[in-house]
Structure formats: C-alpha cells, structure tokens
Symmetry: C2
Subunit: 407 residues, 2 copies
C-alpha cells in the first residue's frame, strides 16, 4: 500500500477530547472515525486490524469444531418477550416497523440462536454442537466512553454451545477458557481468567481481564486459591472462597466472558431433546463472548508509548512500514525509489504486507512521527545515507533497536 494513496492520512494533532489512549491514537492514526457517542466508522487501516483480530478468533474457534453462521440484528419482539428481556434489558434498542410492529435491535443473540437451534434438532444424536457468529451488537448505553472500549454499536464474537448434560457443558466451557487465553495471547495480550458472578443458574461465570492502568474494572488475586476474582464477588477485602485477606485491586479491562447458561434460555423456549429412552429433557447451553472492537481498543491500551501504538505482530495492519527519504538530487532520488520498490516486491513474494511512505513532499521528521503513531512492527528506511552503504535501516517499533541490512 502506498501511503500517498491511503485514506485517510494520519492527523497531525491528536483529538482534543480523547478520553483514552485508544481513542487518541486510533483516531489520530486514521484507524477509526467517530460518528457519534459510542459509534465509530472503521477506516481502512483500522478495518485491517479488526479483520486480523476476527480471523485469529475464527481460526481458534473453528479448530474446536464450532460452526460459523450470521444472525440478524433485527429480532422479533416475541422472542424477547419469551425471555422477559423485552422490558427487562434496559439497554435494548427498540424500533417500529410498518409490518409486524415493534422489533428489537440485537443486543445479544440468545433470543435468536435458541429457537434456531431448536428448529433443527430433536434427538440426543444431534448433540453436542456449537455455533458462533462475528456480528455487530447494539446497546443503548448511557455512558458510551473510552473510545472503542464501550460503544453503542460494537463488534462481538458470540458462541453458543448445546449439550445433553452438565458434564459435557463443563468440559466444553473449560476448553473455551483455554482457547480464549490463546486468542488473547495471539493478540499480544496477557489476559487472566477471573471469576465473576454467575447469575441465577451458576455460582460463577468467568471473565477474561487484561491488567492495565486504563482498566475500568477492579480484580483481586487470591494467592491461596491462585484465582482472580472480580470486584463484585469480593466483600470486605476477603477471598469469596477461602476467606484469605486479599491485597490491593488491580485495574483491568474485560475482553471476554463465558457463562454456563444451563437451561435458562432452553426453558424460555421449551428447547428439549429426546433421550435414548424416548424421554424429553431440557438442553443445556453455554455462551461465550469476545468483544472484537473492544479487543482492538484494549490492545492499544496495553501496547503504546508516548509516540503512538505498538501493534503486536500478528494483528498489525502491515508488517513493514517502509520510508523513502528523498533529497534534492533527482538521480539519487530515482535510485531511492527503485530500491524502495524492489523491497516492496521482494517482501510481497514472502507475503509480507508493506505500507510504503512514498511521499515526496513530507519531511523525514513527519514520516518518522507517522510511523511511530501507526505502530507497524518494523520501520525500514531507505535514504541516500543507507544506499551509500548499499543497505536499509531497520528499526523495531517495540524495542527501538536499529539494525542495518545489506540490500
């Protein structure tokens, strides 16, 4: 990609009202554009990052045998009445339609997936199975804030599993917990599994929290249980399980959560299976979410410095940020151009994606500042100076280490 053609260019100034590092750098870098409170457009660079995050999730979840589908955002009111969430979920967006009256705008998808799964199954032989989607969710949050961390329209991977018995559900739940840690690791994050309230049906649910000073949650580590607990579970500074006195809380951002729904939604939709003996039994469900756009925001919170973003390798929009530094000598400039294009071509052969800053009207300082802001892992410079040594200069964005490499 030629930087001269990229839409849009990075902004010279950070937005003045940014309330978080992710808002500041994602907006200034031209990754996202705010349309209104909690609603963003994902610009070409940002969309590339988002897609990489989505594909990591897809790969890991597909490997478990779950199948991807895509449910609608427009959802029947009756389904939400069936679960008592039409009136019970205060962040639910509702709209009027010319046909059929009121419609819910999907805040989550249990109200669709449960009757959908029911429609195609019946015998115990159809179980277990798991379905997921990566789709935008809509929530009428009073306080949309912190860039893409808490939005009114946001991306989510939501996975649902269906089981005959609790043992099978619990086994799958643990499998997902392990897979989640791997997903976050590939995204360059160290997430910790954290116990949280389980609702009416389970003692605990689990959250995946990334410890960072920008976090909005407080979590506590119990050194005896070797388990993190969410703030909600902790009373008077004591571990809710072993009653050991807990230390100071750590600030963290939640990037995923998993629930054993058990029969909460299958009861609401009378979703049963016929067992080996011909008897009807309720289906057990689990649900497992990762906020995809929130994940991108969290990655920035956990991976930046004063100059900009430092993308982890696997989700960087490009692997190499190539900078050509032109001078006044046209002949030498021509050589610099040829060398730069040769690097692009050679990297393309190895499937390495290059963002090439080919601008002739931008100063070295401007180009370096943009490279630091955009946070691509490897910055490569070609200039009269490097060409004199028949070399390119490679700087690692994270370590700052500079090396020269022969052309």
């Amino acid at each position: 990609m030629l930087y001269s053609k990229l839409f849009p260019k990075a902004l010279r100034q950070a937005p003045k009202d940014a309330d978080s590092a992710n808002a500041k750098y994602l907006i200034q870098g031209g990754f996202i554009h705010q349309e209104m409170a909690g609603v963003y457009s994902w610009l070409p660079l940002g969309l590339q990052v988002l897609r990489k995050v989505e594909n990591i999730i897809r790969e890991e979840i597909n490997a478990l045998g779950a199948q991807e589908l895509l449910m609608p955002a427009l959802q029947p009111k009756d389904n939400w009445l069936a679960t008592d969430r039409w009136d019970g979920l205060d962040i639910l967006f509702k709209l009027n339609s010319k046909i059929g009256g009121e419609i819910a705008l999907g805040a989550t998808a249990e109200e669709i997936i449960t009757p959908l799964a029911k429609a195609y199954t019946g015998s115990y032989q159809d179980f277990p199975f798991a379905l997921y989607q990566i789709q935008n969710k809509y929530r009428d949050e009073l306080r949309a804030k912190a860039g893409v961390l808490r939005g009114r329209e946001f991306g989510m991977k939501d996975l649902y599993s269906f089981h005959l018995d609790l043992g099978c559900l619990e086994k799958y739940y643990e499998k997902i917990a392990k897979t989640y840690l791997n997903i976050f690791k590939r995204c360059g994050l160290k997430a910790v599994r954290t116990r949280a309230t389980g609702g009416a049906f389970s003692k605990f649910s689990d959250e995946f929290q990334v410890i960072t000073s920008a976090g909005e949650d407080n979590i506590y580590y119990c050194s005896k249980c070797k388990v993190y607990y969410n703030n909600e579970l902790v009373r008077a500074g004591k571990c809710p399980e072993c009653k050991t006195k807990l230390g100071k809380p750590e600030r963290a951002i939640e990037v995923g959560n998993i629930f054993k729904l058990k029969t909460k939604f299958s009861d609401a939709f009378n979703f049963k299976y016929i067992d080996k003996n011909g008897k009807e039994k309720p289906v057990l469900m689990g649900c497992y979410g990762i906020g995809t756009t929130r994940l991108v925001g969290t990655i920035v919170e956990a991976n930046h410095d004063d100059h900009g973003i430092i993308w982890p390798n696997e989700i960087a929009p490009y692997k190499m940020h190539l900078i050509a530094l032109f001078g006044k000598d046209k002949k030498i400039n021509q050589k610099i151009k040829s060398a730069a294009l040769a690097v692009v071509a050679s990297e393309a052969k190895q499937s390495c994606e290059v963002l090439y800053d080919d601008r002739e009207d931008a100063s070295a300082g401007e180009k370096f500042a943009v490279a630091d802001l955009l946070g691509i892992p490897e910055r490569v410079v070609i200039s009269e100076k490097t060409l004199a040594k028949n070399s390119i200069e490679i700087k690692n964005r994270k370590s700052g280490k500079v090396t020269m490499k022969k052309l």
Copy 2:
C-alpha cells in the same frame, strides 16, 4: 466437513409457504433460516456462499484501488436531516436512544461517507479516491418477499467515488460498469447493463439485470441502440432514445446499480476541494451498489432445477460432495470409509473443499436427494460397486454427466 456434523441437516420437505425458488431451496437446504418477514439468519452453508460472493466483489473492487472501510448502522439524525431524507425516505428505520435522541438505522451510507470523506480531504491533490464497505442495510419495506431478494435486513456492497471533475467521474463510472459485469460473470450470472432513470442530477443511471422468469422487473432491448432500458423509461413501447418500436419485455432481477450522484450529497454537506488556483469547488460523487444477499438469491433463481440448486463453481459452498454408500458387510464398509477419507485427504492437499456425507443411517436415495438439493458442482460416490472397479463415480451436478475415475 462431515455431513454428520453439519448444522443443520437439509430438511426433508420444502417450506410450504416459499414464494420463490431461492426461498424454497435455500431454506430446505439449510442455507438460511427465516426469523421474520424479510429477515434471515445465514446458516453455515449459506454463510460460506455469501462469503464467497463477498470475496469475489472484494477482489474485483480492490483491483480498482478502492479501499474498504466499515461504517456503522447507527447514524446521526442530523446527517439525514441535512439531505432531506430523514422525512423523505419512507423506508428509513428510526429509533430512540437514551442519549442524543433519535437515530437512523442505515438504509444506505451517503449520509455517513460524505461528511467522513470531507473530514479528511481538502486539497485537489487528495482526489480522486474511492471507498467501499460490505455491510448490512436496513429498510422498512412494506412487502418483504421472494426469499432473500427483497429483505428488511440485507447485505450490500456500497462503493463511493470522489472526483474533481465530471470527466473523471464518468471514466470511473464506466470502469465500475465493466467490473460489475465481471463480478456477475464470476458469480455464474449473465447480467445485462440496463439504463434506468437518473434522478435530478443525471439523465440515466445504470442497473445490472439478470434475465430470468423469476424477475420482478421488466426490461426492453432496443436492437438499434443495442441497449437495454428499464420499464420506467419506456413509454408506449418505444425506445426512449431512438424511438424505435420495442419488442416484448423480458423479466429480470436487478443485482446492482450505479449512479452519478454528481454534487447531490456534496452540496448537502458543503463538501468542497481547493483547486490549483486556491478556489473552492464542489466535489463530484458516484455511488455503486451490489446487494450481496440478493445476489445469492438471484444465483439460485438462475441456477436450479426441480431437484435443487446448481451452484456455479466459484461460489459453491464446497467443490465436492462426497458420498459413501455403506452396505451390510462391515469389512467392506471399513474399506469404503478408508477410501473416502483418502479422497478427502488428497483433495485437501489441492485445497479442494469437500463435504463428506459419512452418515451410516441414511439411504443412498436420501443422500443423492440431499446432494441434488445442496447443488455442489461435483458429486462423488464411493461404494462396494465402485470399489470393485477400484474407482469412484463422479457426477457433474449441472450436466448430469457421470464418469468413473480410478482410485
């Protein structure tokens, strides 16, 4: 993919209320599931087809240098007031939010892309450029019908181009027209470019119509102009350009349309550029749409027989539908299984995607019926009979031609 694991299995019966071939076969085959009028879930098989269609579009549009982004469905009311479409577009869904009052649910994206493009550009040097997205659109249609042909929530690729002058816009418009024909060809459709009304700003727009008896539009061919005209343009059976008497109309489905918006939306948002002489001039825009979910429906309308779908090669959910026919002899069944798995493994090496019907409790007739319904291009059978000849039987879904191939 093992058919025994696929969610869901094809239904034994076609839905009774299907009003079109695409509704009938896509629902019966387990490609889509209706949630309410004009609102569908895309099930795993259907999503695979949809993604292939999207990727063909992406490849072709990327090749023109357009950049992909992703805009939100939640759109500010003020933007829609600026274009007089808050009250003027009767199919616009509106919803209330706790913060900021009313919000539009995106029926299209001119109201977002125009101010977005304006925010990042200014000089003539920033032009021309083009941006697109593949995103769901929401329209409060009174008569959602014909399966996925006319929905209330549907997928769309919408591309927007920005130019300094009319010549540049017209050149790009023609490039897109050519690219569109190529996209539809790759999707197994013969689409014809058809002149339609252009609105206030242009004499004509262009539609891309697939001629099929299931079509909801009427188009006319003028053999003198060598041009198709949409019904709306034709008065008293005469060509609107050369006045030649026209023949009978042909039924067709619209799969894409392109418009020279010129300054319609840039005027509404005061979107201007500074020319070489420092003077402000309005930006010229074009917009180019393809309904992605509608395209899948159209492909089924144009490619099916009495037994089911006949997917064109490039968008089939799988390339090969492998059927193992088991008998009563366990030893031979074991040989059949091994041979089938060897075929799957060997095809995987060539990146050929196989759907393998491994069921042991389904009859040959059932398996053949499912294969015809799902419409995968190549049906391959392994049975005691074919193994006796050390062969597999290959049947082409489209031609019906059967060949034997040595194992």
